[in-house]
């Protein structure tokens, strides 16, 4: 991956593009939420995600990152306020919003092909078209040759690729990823990060990413939101400018990267 | 017959006999009981053990100096392994299990006859079959491989029906009433208490062991090894039995209270059941006749011996026993009764 040719496109183009885009894909509007009556987890949260944006949530454990993700996925409803997708209230889970779980949540009884093709069962897609698209996406995540394998025959990293491919295939407008790479080892994780960036480049759609790793957040994101300990308040909202394409090894050790890293590290420390 | 039907008023003579023996016992009881071995006496929880209970509960075993331990068995079949294992010394059951035990090489001998239930075993049918002849094509419940099975075949044979024209269903006595009530069988050959239940459910008796001339007797068998090692115990047992028998015959109502209680029945219910059995008690002094045990050393001429021969052929024919010993004489030993009667 580090061998892919580097096109030193300034990321400022990308940032200004996002800046000028009027389209708010997801919007949380004064959202309050709690799992029980005893304690609120989020209070009056405002958050917007633009079309095509790669947004990462950082914050101390238990601050409500997963909760925000669950609300957008439609697994829970806000107590107060609105969570909208393209202006419409989110009523429940939908194929328009893909989710990748830390545990990958693959169907162990289906082959890679069947897992990836699962979403098509519920769409009016011709068999031929379906086959073609499954093939394409499997190639895209670098799993060609593993179509007939079962999850137990794959490594942790490969399993996460299948999970990503499975969500991509139904072309969701946003992909919600809750610490998707936390359970794989460091080397594999870096590979997966680069794959994800490439995929994001090729497939339109926003990504909401949750992680605990500052390095991962800096490397991946267009924008990082740091949440407060205090009822999911937003402490910082930072745009990341790194040279395009993102997925080069140099972007992990460049001065700009180290600067973001140091800055975010100190900001996080301040919250704790 | 010299035997007394239960329920008949006992003669004065018998009552006298009871009194005299009771007196005799008191003297014997003075003898040290300590050197007498413990005797394990088997009885059947699913049947009626009137005289046994009288002997045990009224203290006749103690009076003669026997240290008796009663051992409950669910059926006569369960006695066989117990005899083989030496778990029980003397026990009563019916001829089939005794023959099974003897044929499989367990050393036992029949030493005493208890009673002859002449109508306990009977064929009971619903309205569809008023007599044996009308059983043609019907379904009949029977416990395959028992004396009931043997008797049933004799009954339908006597009525001129071929075995192939009836449908025999193998049922345990405990299952008969349920099957009859559910209308799954038209008739059943069985014995008390199941037979009584069938009567209660509306069944009529259409044949009995007596009516078909079958031999029916409850008999006492002992492990030969035990008997030979303890001849004095055998004699004492006969003595106690004699006393209990007379006590029971003197007042059957009172003698039945033990069993009525054990079987969870009112005295009336139990009395009716015993009545249906139509049992005759085989009196001590009649044991040595050819109708019962016969004289010592001459069992071949007895009805019991002939019945055994017939049962043996039947069980071999049914494939339940590979063979039965040519000589069944060692199975019957009336010498202990004879010894006791002599000493009396």
């Amino acid at each position: 991956m580090s061998k892919s040719p580097i096109h030193p496109v300034s990321s400022l183009d990308r940032q200004s593009e996002l800046e000028n885009s009027p389209a708010q894909l997801i919007s949380l509007d004064r959202v309050s939420f709690g799992y029980s009556h005893k304690r609120l987890v989020l209070q009056d949260l405002d958050l917007e995600i633009k079309q095509g944006e790669f947004l990462t949530l950082l914050g101390p454990s238990g601050c409500g990152k997963s909760t925000i993700l669950n609300l957008i996925a439609g697994f829970y409803k806000p107590l107060l306020g609105r969570v909208t997708h393209g202006g419409e209230d989110i009523k429940g889970p939908s194929a328009r919003r893909g989710v990748v779980f830390q545990s990958n949540a693959l169907f162990d009884w289906m082959t890679v092909e069947q897992n990836v093709g699962f979403g098509f069962r519920f769409q009016a897609v011709s068999k031929h078209e379906r086959k073609k698209r499954v093939e394409t996406i499997i190639a895209l995540v670098g799993l060609r040759g593993n179509e007939r394998k079962y999850p137990y025959q794959l490594s942790g990293g490969m399993r996460q690729r299948v999970a990503v491919a499975r969500s991509m295939v139904v072309q969701p407008e946003i992909l919600l990823m809750d610490e998707p790479f936390a359970a794989v080892d460091v080397q594999t994780r870096e590979g997966l990060q680069e794959e994800l960036l490439k995929l994001h480049e090729q497939v339109s759609g926003a990504i909401l990413f949750v992680t605990h790793s500052i390095e991962e957040a800096v490397f991946l994101s267009d924008r990082i939101v740091i949440l407060d300990r205090n009822l999911g308040g937003i402490a910082h909202d930072i745009k990341i400018h790194l040279p395009e394409p993102r997925y080069t090894a140099m972007n992990r050790v460049s001065d700009a990267f180290n600067q973001y890293r140091t800055d975010l590290y100190l900001k996080m420390k301040a919250i704790e | 017959s010299l035997a007394f039907a239960i329920g008949c008023a006992p003669t004065e003579k018998v009552t006298d006999a009871v009194e005299t023996t009771t007196e005799a016992v008191t003297e014997v009881a003075a003898a040290p009981a300590a050197d007498m071995p413990k005797v394990r006496v088997g009885f059947q929880t699913g049947d009626i053990n009137n005289i046994t209970m009288v002997a045990a509960k009224e203290g006749y075993f103690e009076k003669v100096g026997l240290d008796v331990e009663l051992a409950p068995y669910s059926s006569g079949g369960a006695m066989v392994p117990a005899l083989a294992a030496g778990e029980v010394d003397i026990t009563w059951f019916f001829p089939f299990p005794s023959l099974t035990a003897f044929a499989t090489g367990i050393d036992i001998e029949v030493v005493l006859l208890d009673h002859a239930p002449l109508t306990a075993e009977r064929l009971i049918a619903g309205e569809a079959a008023p007599d044996v002849a009308s059983l043609n094509g019907k379904t009949i419940g029977v416990t395959i491989g028992t004396s009931g099975h043997h008797s049933l075949l004799a009954a339908i044979d006597q009525a001129g029906i071929s075995q192939n024209d009836v449908n025999l269903v193998n049922l345990n006595p405990s299952e008969m009433a349920a099957a009859f009530a559910a209308g799954k069988i038209d008739a059943a050959w069985t014995w008390e208490p199941a037979a009584g239940k069938l009567n209660e459910l509306g069944g009529k008796d259409i044949a009995t062991a007596k009516s078909i001339g079958a031999y029916a007797v409850a008999l006492w068998a002992v492990r030969k090894e035990f008997a030979e090692a303890n001849p004095e115990v055998m004699t004492k047992f006969m003595e106690a039995w004699d006393m209990a028998q007379q006590d029971y015959l003197a007042d059957p109502k009172s003698g039945q209270k033990w069993e009525a209680e054990r079987l969870n029945l009112t005295p009336e219910e139990f009395g009716a059941m015993v009545g249906r059995q139509g049992s005759t008690v085989v009196l001590m002094e009649n044991q040595l006749t050819d109708e019962w045990l016969g004289a010592p050393g001459q069992p071949q001429s007895t009805n019991l011996y002939k019945a055994y021969e017939e049962y043996g052929a039947f069980l071999v024919d049914q494939g339940r026993l590979d063979s039965v010993p040519e000589d069944l004489a060692p199975l019957i030993n009336s010498s202990y009764v004879a010894d006791y009667l002599e000493s009396k």
Binding site: Y76 | A71, P72, S74, A85, S174, A181, L201, R262
Partner: protein
């Protein structure tokens, strides 16, 4: 705090009204009601069938008849023995068999789990014994162990012991390797590892086995008391069958059900006390 009402959909956790816990509580109450209502309904229907004459009492005794029979038994006893003696007799048998069977199964299971040669040695025998029902052994047990308590207890014991053994073995084998290695690096010898590491690690599995064994032991009670019995709930069931006392039969059956459930409940409590560390 005033909350807007959001239309509830059955797929979502809906929050209605101010108290979020109310709904959870209400659901629990509802579930409890259903759990009580259905059995009650069955009982009522049962009583009705006979009261209304829909079904002959011969086929299904009335509920009240069974209850009456039960109280009659408590007063008069059954077959000349107080009901309590029957119950205690059966319970004593089950618990003796359960205790001894658990000990035997535990010991064998620990050895089989720990030493693969012991495991190999017993494998064929235990596999072959497993499907053989206790009922088949009655004659042999009379022959070998007589008709006393020993036989009855052994009949109940062996099936339960096999189950405890298999579960103990699985428990020992499931003990994480790294816990054993950790104990070794702390200086523990073989015995200490066995006592402080492997045995506790196997306990949850052992208790699972014990619960299954206890339920099996109750199931075998009737067969065991077929063996020269004159006492016990199993004896009542058989004797009631013999005398076609369907009401008595039901009393016996329901008593086994009751004591089975009760003792499982007790064992569950004990298990959760002993294996408290699973949280």
């Amino acid at each position: 705090m005033q909350l807007k009402m959001s239309k509830s959909s059955d797929k979502m956790t809906a929050f209605e009204g101010q108290d979020l816990q109310t709904q959870a509580l209400r659901e629990k109450a509802m579930l409890f009601c259903v759990a009580i209502a259905i059995p009650s309904l069955i009982l009522i229907l049962w009583e009705m069938t006979t009261r209304m004459g829909w079904v002959d009492e011969l086929f299904l005794p009335s509920l009240s008849g069974i209850v009456n029979e039960f109280f009659a038994m408590t007063r008069k006893g059954y077959a000349g023995t107080p009901l309590l003696s029957h119950v205690l007799g059966s319970l004593r048998r089950v618990f003796t068999a359960f205790t001894v069977g658990t000990l035997v199964g535990l010991l064998l299971g620990l050895l089989m789990g720990y030493y693969k040669y012991v495991r190999a040695a017993f494998y064929v025998v235990t596999e072959l014994l497993r499907p053989i029902p206790p009922l088949a052994f009655i004659t042999l047990f009379i022959l070998w162990f007589g008709i006393g308590e020993v036989s009855k207890v052994l009949i109940i014991l062996y099936a339960g012991a096999l189950i405890v053994m298999l579960n103990t073995m699985a428990g020992v084998q499931s003990c994480p390797k790294d816990k054993i290695l950790a104990a070794q690096t702390l200086g523990a010898n073989d015995l200490a590892i066995f006592l402080y590491v492997i045995l506790p690690a196997a306990l949850p599995s052992i208790f699972t086995g014990m619960r299954v064994a206890l339920s099996v032991d109750f199931g075998i009670l009737v067969a065991a008391e077929l063996l020269a019995g004159d006492l016990g709930i199993g004896y009542i069931i058989q004797d009631a069958s013999t005398f076609f006392n369907v009401e008595g039969l039901f009393v016996g059956i329901l008593m086994i059900g009751f004591f089975g459930v009760m003792s499982d409940f007790l064992l569950r409590i004990i298990a959760s006390r002993v294996v408290h560390w699973q949280g």
